[in-house]
């Protein structure tokens, strides 16, 4: 069933759409953002500045953006998918040419009022275009090699551009989200088996090529991997982040040291405690109970997204929602794995909690799409 078959009667119009919003999801998002405000307040030593207050304003803005996106019919967004993807791609090329170098990588374009990170934008637009592609593609062709190659290209071009910045975290996120979407769209599992096999051989190649002229990754990326495999090899250098982060997390215990009592973060042993490593502060101060609560909130957001996706008979809506859920999942899963020492430090923020404008805004747009799909689903 496509949007043309919707009976206009069953679709809410005007302000009535607000009533059809997926309210539990909105409340969950706000709860997670609230946890973020608390932690930013804590890492600033009990102060709304410099992080908590701007973060709250951004969330308010993000929430408004989500509502606006939600009000717009989902079919409009489907029609916009190609354009959005193209714009993102152009921006990625622009950032490559004119972008500001920050933290050793070219990631953003300074627009004056905000720093635009095209790779963040690409996280949604890639999901959008893939969902639109499979909405358009008849089922019978889904697993045909030529029709598989096209989305692979749609995925790999931005991945390659992001990798050049270099931003390994985002490239992995894009690759995984894109792959997951293709899988959910019904591409034959044999392709995935092949890709995994190739992936393993690529990883081997990456390690084998190290130190030669044609090495596949940057030196700092190799170092991060080394450090991940053995943090104690360089406890005050590159392994410092992981070691200190594990210490902070582990020392939290069952109930933590208490709000604003985390010694690791308060005494600056933790690096980037307000951005990528904010989860360690939470785990140190609020303990296992606090950490599990946040994980629970995230899981509930996933559950609500998947539930609305599976209840939506519109193929685009359903794939888009699932894709966004996967992206969201990848965000927090990679971030938490990283701070718990399960994955190398790749620079992925904790969604809705870490301090940062771009990521927050992009996520709220994504949930706006989820809401739009929910409101405008065929009834």
């Amino acid at each position: 069933m496509s949007y043309l078959e919707y009976t206009v009667k069953t679709t809410p119009t005007g302000l009535r759409k607000i009533l059809y919003l997926n309210w539990p999801l909105a409340i969950l998002l706000t709860a997670v953002a609230g946890v973020g405000f608390l932690m930013l307040y804590s890492v600033a030593g009990g102060s709304f500045t410099p992080w908590a207050e701007p973060q709250m304003k951004r969330y308010a803005l993000g929430f408004a953006v989500m509502l606006i996106v939600a009000m717009v019919p989902i079919w409009f967004w489907r029609n916009m998918a190609v354009l959005a993807y193209a714009v993102s791609l152009v921006l990625l090329v622009l950032v490559e040419l004119f972008g500001t170098v920050g933290m050793g990588a070219q990631r953003w374009i300074d627009l004056g009022f905000m720093r635009l990170q095209p790779s963040e934008l690409m996280k949604i637009t890639l999901v959008m275009i893939l969902a639109a592609y499979y909405d358009w593609l008849p089922m019978s062709r889904v697993s045909r090699p030529l029709w598989v190659l096209a989305p692979v290209g749609l995925i790999l071009v931005p991945v390659a551009l992001v990798l050049r910045q270099p931003d390994l975290g985002t490239s992995i996120l894009l690759l995984a989200a894109g792959g997951a979407l293709m899988f959910m769209a019904g591409v034959h599992w044999a392709y995935f088996a092949a890709v995994i096999a190739i992936g393993i051989s690529l990883i081997t190649a990456a390690f084998q090529s190290r130190g030669t002229d044609w090495q596949l990754l940057a030196d700092y990326q190799y170092r991060r991997i080394d450090t991940f495999l053995d943090p104690s090899s360089d406890p005050l250098g590159a392994g410092y982040h992981i070691t200190q982060s594990k210490i902070a997390l582990g020392s939290g215990g069952w109930t933590g040291r208490g709000f604003m009592q985390g010694t690791q973060s308060r005494l600056n042993f933790l690096p980037e405690k307000h951005t990528d490593f904010i989860f360690t502060t939470l785990a140190e101060e609020l303990g296992f109970v606090g950490g599990m609560s946040l994980l629970g909130l995230y899981t509930l957001i996933l559950v609500f997204c998947i539930a609305t996706a599976l209840n939506n008979r519109d193929r685009f809506s359903s794939l888009l929602t699932l894709g966004i859920a996967v992206t969201f999942f990848l965000f927090f899963a990679v971030n938490m794995s990283m701070v718990m020492g399960l994955a190398p430090v790749v620079g992925v923020p904790l969604p809705l909690v870490s301090y940062g404008g771009s990521a927050m805004l992009v996520l709220m747009i994504a949930f706006g799409l989820v809401q739009s799909a929910h409101i405008h689903k065929p009834r």
Binding site: L249, F288, T299
Partner: protein, 647 residues
Amino acid sequence: MRRPGRDNAESQRRITRRGLIVAGAQAGFVGLLALRMRFMQVEQADQFRLLADENRINIRLIPPTRGRIFDRDGAVVAENVPSYRITMVREEAGDVDKVIARLAKLVELDPDELERARRDLRDLRGDTPVTVADRVTWNDISRVAVNTPALPGVTPEVGLSRRYPLGPDYAHVVGYVGPVSERDLERIDAPDQLLLIPRFQIGKIGLEAKLEELLRGKAGTKRVEVNASGRVMRELDRVEGEAGADIQITIDNDLQSYVHARLAEESAAAVVMDCETGDLLACASAPSFDPNLFVRGISVSDYKALLENKYRPLPNKAVQGIYPPGSTFKMVTALAALEAGQVDPAETVYCPGHMEVSGRRFHCWKRVGHGNVNLHTSLRDSCDVYYYDMALRTGIENISAMARRLGLGVQHDLPLTSVAAGLMPTKDWKLVNKGEDWVIGDSVNAAIGQGFVLASPLQLAVMTARLATNRSVSPRLVKSVDGVEQPTGHGEDLGLNENMLREVRKAMFAVSNNRRGTAYSSRIIEDAFRMAGKTGTSQVRNITAAERARGVTRNADLPWERRDHALFVNFAPFDNPKIAVAVVVEHGGGGSTAAAPIARDITLQALYGEDPPLAAYPAKDRGRIETQQEKLRRARPQHDSDESDRA
């Protein structure tokens, strides 16, 4: 764009199936994260908690307050005063040179000190605070404090530093402290953690060095929380150390400062001892120096000046200096002969002015001779020949044994550096040390305190106190430690025959009270305080035949280094001995002219406890004494009136 319904339904089923597979994978991963979190935060929590604490908690030493030193009446001799210094930590400073350059604009930095600081900053561990400027003013400290942001790693600190308010008077007895050195550390087996603090001050000489452990106290510890860059955020808890013990010494400050002033510019030493307790009431070595110079680290030029001064200000001549006791030794020879039964006090010996012993002629100081002399007159007139005879009769072993009983040739137990044992020779000693047999001439020389015999002023004072009391009085310098009175040096009965001792004492009385006595001109005419003494003039050279031929024997005609040492020992009052005094004036000439007047003045000062009345002096000296008293009063600081110096 319409699609067959079947296709659509099939697609929806597939999405649901695949979506659930992905959801399942997600759920699995979330479970994995939860397990990992549980493992770290529950199973391994203690281990990580420990690591976190190791991260943030540093243990720091709290240096104890060094014990103070007071004189017997409570005047402060050594105290701790707040001092401001600027320290720097290399690791926090980053570019050391740049920070020092900035600091130099705010505070005047001493080039020597800066040189040392740069060396320490380079060589010591990067997290040790190194003193860059010591004893800076409060203004400097505030200037640095205001500019802290521009001076990373620089900290203004308030500490305690040692001060000796009475300066040179106690330089030798109390000594001084200084920064611990590599050599100090090598000397000590298991050094206290405190000593590893750079520039920690420990006693270098004198009482400060000998009683270091008592004075230092015990370090406390505090646990502090530090942040990632090592800055102390707060103190978690502390175990207080123990302050060093306050020490009261037996020295009487009023007397000590008088003695120093009286010795003035001479190269001399004087010891005043309490006959009852052995307390050293004064113990002076002149010239002296300001110990405060050493606390901070003396400059090369100042130190060179002290080393090159021919009067040698650095050693403590009162206990380290050893001199031939000369005629002050004659009481020992006399008592040895009396005790050995070799002579009767009344027996006379004829002094022709010299004596032939195994082909060598030994002169009496009086060339024309004393004629017939007995024990009394020989001591009074200081006849040498009488004692040559006694040596021949008694033998060196008896004389030596008597000397030891009286405290010569033995090292007295005092908490001072290099307390000299002096030398009381025996036949064995000469064989072992000189590889030669003892000859009779050695005994003859020893009998008048020349030859091998060497004694320190302290030992001479002990000898005199023992002669005065017939007890083995021994010197005491520490009166009390933290208010706990220390055992006195009262001593056991020496067991000398009282009758013989009385003869010797009477002869000593005659020395300074009989018109013919060698120290008659330095007598005391206040009956209650009359003293008994003995002069000594000891040769530091052999008079050569050529000199004798030229007739150059007058001290005044010789260069200073070759003049005789002047000595005087006495006790007073004669009837009821309270104090024993020994004075040595290096190269001072005659004992009666150079040493006896000093000893007399010191004795009176000690007995009166203040400037004595002129009536105690012989009438013809009073004019001169009055001028001298006036001069000395101006020379020494008036501590009596300054109550703030009292404890």
